[in-house]
């Protein structure tokens, strides 16, 4: 461990002496390992370590970020001097001055424990786990063959120490363990593909607690059933029920991203895009009264878990939409200042060499009261889309598409045969207006969210209960 306190003092003092108005020091270390099994063969182990310091300064309205992996007095001094030089050189192009909102400073240390530590378990055990899943796929009683099978078991330990010129000190250590899988099934020349990720904060206990193997085998079973019994999807207007995974992607893409205040203000205009949302729409109705969407970094064991964000702001649950009404956006200190509110702790940085920007953590539709049977029982003719594969949404987050993978016909209140490639292609306003009931079964999935330049692929959870939408136009591929 570096002597972060001394280093931070060096950085902060030197920047303040050079006219900086605000200085932030973030030591950020990432230790990562992943093991890949591809079509039954162990590809090898990839094991990485990176550490360094990211420095942000505000100087006369200019915001500058520098980073270095040379954690010596010389390396840090050069990084500060570079930051000051960049700020002074670019000041004339900061037409709109950057400011940060007021916030409460904390001095806190917290650690997420790994109950079952990654390095306490032999590599051969981890390989056996992956091979066990693969063997069950190859030897299982499936009519479908799975010629493409890729598994990657991943572990990441992040250590951060954040100091700033206003007295903040946050030290944290968070491990994450997750499984990525890709399956491609074939039956009589017909193909279906699915990739997904399960995992969260914590150690190898996630394998059992989050049912990694069941997740893969359930997917295999659904592909087998789909390719054997699947029929062409019906099209036209009908009632639909979507599963937890689909609810999660809708929450993330159609609500989470457009509620990120930097997207609303245009900061991502040339990268991850803008937003249909506008600052003055707080308090307006955006969907049916059944729409409740939240983002909560404080869910224990979650993929997007943290208690203090990367600006040192205390994290809390953010209720984005309550009873169909726009309630709040996701903020860091910069966007909060811009819109005259307090930051709600959404600043995250991927690594020491990335600036903290507004990110989601764990975004989800809040659960309701219905069982799946109750959601389906009054649907005369519709479909149940449990999982998806292809998805995309435009860069203002209105024009979206989710193509089902595991999906079933609903007739007279019962789930019938699987249907192939049903397509939901709809505008966000229309979609949210048609949500009429929520299940009670909240479930989350791991996602890797892309944003920023250079891009910062960030671990998040996305989830929800089963959701019922009325009168949705369904197409097929």
């Amino acid at each position: 461990m570096i002597d972060a306190e001394d280093h931070s003092r060096l950085v902060i003092d030197r920047a303040l002496e050079s006219d900086a108005d605000f200085v932030e020091f973030r030591y950020h270390k990432r230790i990562q390992e992943n093991i890949v099994l591809r079509n039954g063969i162990v590809e090898g182990v990839n094991s990485n370590i990176s550490e360094g310091v990211g420095i942000r300064i505000l100087l006369d309205g200019a915001l500058v970020f520098t980073s270095t992996n040379i954690l010596t007095e010389k390396g840090l001094t050069e990084a500060v001097d570079r930051a000051i030089k960049m700020a002074k050189a670019s000041k004339k192009l900061f037409i709109n001055s950057i400011n940060f909102s007021e916030y409460e400073s904390f001095e806190v240390e917290y650690i997420v424990a790994e109950q079952n530590k990654w390095y306490n378990r032999d590599l051969s055990d981890k390989i056996s786990f992956l091979k066990g899943i693969d063997k069950n796929l190859v030897n299982g009683e499936y009519k479908v063959k799975f010629p493409a099978r890729v598994f990657s078991l991943n572990w990441l330990l992040e250590e951060k120490i954040i100091y700033n010129s206003e007295g903040t000190f946050i030290k944290s250590q968070i491990p994450r363990t997750w499984l990525f899988y890709l399956l491609s099934g074939i039956n009589k020349g017909e193909l279906a593909q699915k990739f997904n990720t399960v995992g969260g904060a914590g150690g190898l206990e996630n394998i059992e607690n989050l049912h990694f193997e069941d997740e893969v085998l359930d997917t295999a079973k659904s592909i087998d059933y789909l390719l054997n019994k699947g029929i062409s999807s019906p099209t036209g207007k009908m009632d639909i029920v979507v599963g937890n995974e689909v609810a999660g992607i809708i929450a993330h893409e159609s609500v989470g991203h457009p509620f990120e205040a930097d997207m609303i203000l245009g900061r991502e205009a040339a990268q991850a895009g803008e937003s249909y949302m506008e600052p003055e729409k707080i308090g307006e109705q955006i969907g049916s009264s059944e729409v409740y969407v939240s983002d909560d970094p404080t869910i224990p064991g979650s993929g997007g878990y943290y208690l203090y964000d990367d600006e040192g702001v205390k994290a809390r649950k953010r209720e984005l939409i309550v009873e169909g009404v726009i309630n709040e956006f996701l903020h860091n200190k910069e966007t909060a200042s811009h819109l005259g509110v307090e930051s709600n702790g959404a600043a995250r940085a991927l690594s020491y060499d990335r600036e903290p920007i507004v990110r989601m953590a764990n975004t989800f539709f809040e659960p309701g009261d219905y069982t799946l049977d109750e959601l389906i029982e009054d649907i005369e003719h519709g479909i149940y889309i449990k999982t998806f594969m292809e998805w995309n949404i435009d860069d203002t987050r209105l024009n979206q598409r989710y193509t089902g993978l595991e999906a079933y016909l609903i007739e007279k209140g019962s789930i019938k045969r699987p249907v192939k490639n049903p397509v939901i292609e709809i505008s966000t306003y229309d979609f949210l207006a048609k949500l009429d009931a929520r299940g009670r079964d909240l479930k989350f999935y791991w996602g890797t969210c892309g944003k920023g330049d250079p891009t910062q692929p960030m671990p998040v959870w996305l989830g929800g209960p089963h959701l019922r939408f009325r009168n949705i136009n369904i197409r097929r591929r």
Binding site: R38, N39, I41, V42, E43, G44, V45, N46, S47, N48, I49, S50, E51, G52, A62, L63, V64, F65, T66, S67, T68, N69, I70, T72, R82, K85, M86, A87, A89, S90, K92, L93, I95, L123, I127, S184, Q193, L265, G266, E268, A270, A272, G273, D353, E355, M389, E390, N392, I393, D394, D395, T396, N399, R401, E425, I426, S427, D453, P454, R475
Partner: protein
């Protein structure tokens, strides 16, 4: 301040790591050291959002022994921490099962030809970059663009390679990339993209003017009606979509069983009007490199020639499996393209191509390309920025909301023509530097969620 990208310190760490691994049983070792100096000027609403600056060094290390292989990336500089990480790697080697397709790294030293004229320390000058960016923004605003957003990235990279096969090399380059998206209204936007090895080679002022010109006649945008359209895709869109063809050409993707090109060698996969090349030896290619991660010298690789798939992209491991020579595309685990160069077409201008299409649409930018099935190539991608209707060979009014929903291989079987002129492209949603033209494609399925 002149940036010379010294790697004396990094090379010392590389030599020590190499010796430690070699002394402790490693048989195949490849260490790629990168020193990267980067300045990013990011702007929106006609004003800088932030300036970011990095100066980082990292070692990417491959270790093979007893037919087992591992990879590690290390950026720490303390010897104790480096040794600890290398011990982890060596322990992993001991616990891994044998890799049946294990292939030793190539041996015999090579005298690499360092690409000339691709390093220009003056291109990393922040003061000059700020002035250029200011000129570009002002030029757009002077041409009635309401607001602009984008990124100017100045990168200087020194790459040093040391392998147990005696393949040692180094080279320096600068990469300057610039993207600017201009808005006339919320729904009326257009994006320009450029990449070069020299700051002075990017026409900043002209980019601002062209943004203004592109948006000048567009006032109302309608939502597109779903259906089949003849489509002209811009160089940015060509880079996005044909970038997937290069990914699918990786022997690793083919071998995994998730490429539409599986089993298609020497077959006609797209229109004979299309030739797809990767050439990191090409003058002016921002992806220029004299060697890949294994030390194989890079060469011009014609992946698709007049519509016929000629080769997959190989490293030594995949090459041995397919009984061919490496194409110089390591990635030691998975080979990948350095760049995409689309062979030039016959049409003298975009306007001539529009006349050929007669009635159809121009898609100027896309993002969020996703697949229902990689192996089949079933994909969709979303229009981003303005689309323009083509009527009787003329560009008319704008539209929005289009989603290209089709098959990424099949649509290029229906290629009608390409422009002669090509543009170097690299932006947020394209995988690597690409030199691409406007391409006309027939009968593309368009849908919309509106």
């Amino acid at each position: 301040m002149s940036i010379n990208l010294s790697t004396i310190f990094l090379e010392d760490l590389m030599n020590r790591a190499y010796k430690y691994l070699s002394d402790n049983g490693a048989e195949d070792i490849a260490i790629k050291g990168l020193r990267t100096y980067r300045v990013i000027l990011r702007f929106y609403n006609n004003s800088l959002a932030t300036v970011k600056s990095y100066d980082d060094s990292v070692m990417h290390i491959y270790v093979g022994a007893n037919k087992r292989r591992t990879l590690t990336a290390i950026n720490v500089i303390e010897e104790e921490k480096i040794t600890e990480q290398l011990n982890k790697v060596l322990r992993s080697i001991g616990e891994l099962p044998e890799y049946n397709d294990y292939t030793p790294l190539p041996d015999k030293a090579v005298d690499y030809k360092e690409p000339l004229g691709i390093f220009d320390s003056k291109s990393l000058d922040i003061n000059k970059a700020v002035d250029k960016l200011e000129a570009s923004i002002n030029s757009a605003l002077d041409n009635k663009v309401k607001r602009v957003a984008g990124t100017l990235v100045l990168s200087g990279v020194k790459t040093v390679l040391k392998t147990s096969g005696g393949r040692n090399g180094e080279f320096k380059k600068t990469i300057i990339s610039f993207n600017m998206r201009g808005f006339k209204e919320k729904d009326i936007s257009y994006q320009m993209s450029a990449i070069s090895t020299k700051l002075d080679a990017i026409p900043f002022k002209k980019i601002g003017e062209e943004l203004g010109l592109a948006l000048s006649n567009l006032n109302n945008v309608k939502i597109i009606t779903p259906g089949k359209y003849n489509v002209i895709i811009s160089p940015i869109v060509s880079a996005n979509l044909l970038g997937w063809h290069m990914r699918f050409a990786s022997a690793y993707t083919v071998d995994t069983g998730i490429s539409p090109f599986t089993g298609k060698l020497d077959e006609k996969v797209v229109s004979d009007k299309l030739t797809l090349i990767d050439d990191p030896t090409m003058k002016g290619n921002p992806a220029a490199t004299p060697f890949d991660d294994e030390g194989t010298p890079t060469v011009k690789t014609v992946v698709v020639e007049n519509g016929v798939l000629k080769t997959y992209l190989h490293n030594t491991t995949t090459a041995k499996k397919y009984n061919v020579e490496s194409t110089g595309h390591a990635g030691i685990i998975a080979p990948s393209a350095h760049s995409l160069i689309v062979g030039k077409g016959d049409f003298s201008s975009l306007e001539e191509l529009a006349k050929e299409v007669s009635n159809g649409i121009l898609i100027t930018n896309v993002w969020y390309t996703r697949f229902q099935n990689y192996r089949l190539g079933e994909f969709s991608t979303l229009q981003r920025d303005i689309g323009i209707y083509i009527e009787n060979g003329e560009f008319k009014s704008g539209f929005k909301g289009a989603r290209l929903s089709d098959n990424i291989i099949n649509i290029f079987q229906r290629t009608r023509g390409l422009t002669k002129k090509r543009y170097w492209i690299k932006w947020w949603d394209t995988p690597f530097p690409s030199y691409t033209p406007y391409i006309a494609i027939e009968n593309v399925n368009i849908t919309t969620g509106f």
